[in-house]
């Protein structure tokens, strides 16, 4: 998700006829990614080394480095793949909603539904997002923009429909909603809250956030 890397603006490669060599390379990549996903989930980001990942994938450390420049690139690739799975669904939920609440809750229902299923990976991604290098963080912020664009869209349509005041600070509202959405994951992590419990809390919090902005 968001705190994550998504390169959806990067141009997709034109379909090329894969040579046997290229196919083998792609299979190696996939094997590394699947081993890495498993280890990051089990041990967290810091706990999984490239050496462990190579071993789990049944290949040499050198072979891993032939596909990925470092661990953070590997991690980003996994999060990007996850993000791409849910972004389209979040967009759909946001765009098709009849009210602001339906849009916001719909979007985050997709996200909570996906991430609560694989909490350890999410925890690793959040922890990394707070302690990353500046370059990684810059990349990360570029990615967050896409989610905020969806959220801003939901709120702006609320203004257009006359649901929210015309002078509502859409950008600030989106930020606060996002903050609360991320903070709520602690309830899932520490208190084993279900997706339904998270959404019901988010819905109550949303009422508090929007109360002053309603037309």
């Amino acid at each position: 998700m968001s705190f994550v890397s998504l390169n959806i603006e990067s141009p997709t490669d034109a379909p090329v006829k894969l040579t046997r060599r290229a196919l083998a390379k792609q299979r190696t990549r996939e094997r590394v990614l699947s081993a890495a996903r498993r280890l990051f989930t089990e041990r967290g980001y810091e706990g999984a080394t490239i050496r462990d990942i190579a071993q789990a994938a049944g290949m040499s450390t050198g072979a891993v480095f032939a596909s990925f420049s470092d661990k953070s690139e590997l991690f980003d690739e996994i999060l990007t793949a996850d993000y791409e799975v849910i972004y389209a669904q979040m967009k759909q939920a946001g765009v098709n909603a009849a009210t602001v609440e339906e849009g916001v809750i719909g979007m985050f229902a997709v996200a909570y539904g996906f991430h609560v299923e694989q909490l350890p990976l999410l925890q690793a991604s959040i922890a990394v997002s707070w302690t990353r290098s500046e370059t990684a963080e810059r990349r990360n912020r570029g990615h967050l923009k896409h989610i905020f664009a969806l959220l801003n869209g939901v709120l702006t349509r609320g203004v257009e429909r006359g649901e929210l005041k015309t002078d509502a600070d859409v950008k600030l509202l989106a930020e606060i909603i996002w903050d609360v959405y991320v903070a709520n994951y602690r309830r899932a992590i520490f208190d084993a809250w279900s997706v339904e419990a998270l959404l019901s809390r988010l819905s109550d919090q949303l009422k508090v956030i929007l109360a002053g902005a309603r037309a």
């Binding site: 967290g44 810091e46 925890q123 959040i126 922890a127 990394v128 997002s129 707070w130 302690t131 500046e134 963080e137 810059r138 912020r141 600070d169 600030l172 509202l173 930020e175 606060i176 996002w178 903050d179 609360v180 991320v182 903070a183 709520n184 994951y185 602690r186 992590i189 520490f190 809390r201 109550d204 919090q205 009422k207 508090v208 956030i209 929007l210 109360a211 002053g212 902005a213």
Partner: protein
């Protein structure tokens, strides 16, 4: 306190101080228990007789810092004036002023709050009852004064305020935003929520 206890206490203090500085200078993940022991001038073994893990060291470093901060608040809060929103702005401004002195340490504290640790005595960000309690008192006083709607659930506002407060530290991490900038942003967020809780 016996000599033995005094020694133990002294070791503890030295370890916490060394860890606080190292976490802030080099980062939490990058700091090893060995490095903490070295800086504190104690053996690795004696760190482990006092703390179960690095996560517990971090938690105690923050506990100690927050203990000092909240002692200060006990003095200040009774003298806060103005609307509920104004009072909250002051409370968070004091927090930013305090925590931006050691930004990296605080970021590690927030990062850790998403990774539960089985060790005893670990209090992650978000579980600190003192902050929650302080915010609750200010909001409840607001209800009593008629400044905050009486049908308003303080816990939801506390959720929102704490989430915004923590997330704003990203600006300190990414753009070296000052305490003043963070407070200015928090003020806007508080004002926005306050529009919803003001008594009609």
């Amino acid at each position: 306190m016996g000599v033995r206890d005094e020694q133990k206490q002294a070791t503890r203090e030295k370890v916490l101080e060394a860890a606080r500085d190292l976490f802030n200078e080099t980062g939490y993940e990058e700091t090893t228990i060995r490095a903490i022991a070295e800086r504190a001038g104690v053996s690795v073994g004696s760190v482990f007789t006092t703390f179960a893990s690095k996560a517990e060291v971090l938690s105690h470093v923050m506990d100690k810092r927050l203990g000092e901060l909240y002692a200060e608040f006990d003095r200040v809060v009774p003298f806060l004036r103005g609307s509920t929103a104004d009072r909250l702005c002051s409370i968070f401004a004091i927090h930013y002023e305090f925590e931006t002195r050691r930004v990296k340490l605080f970021l590690a504290h927030i990062a850790a709050s998403y990774s539960p640790c089985p060790d005893p005595g670990v209090t992650p960000y978000g579980r600190n009852e003192r902050l929650t309690q302080m915010l609750r008192e200010v909001l409840e006083e607001g209800v009593a004064r008629g400044d905050v709607r009486s049908d308003f659930d303080p816990q939801l506002a506390i959720d929102v305020l704490k989430a915004a407060y923590a997330w704003n530290y990203r600006l300190a991490a990414n753009r070296q935003a000052s305490a003043t900038e963070l407070s200015a942003l928090m003020d806007k967020q508080i004002q926005l929520i306050a529009e919803g809780w003001r008594a009609a």
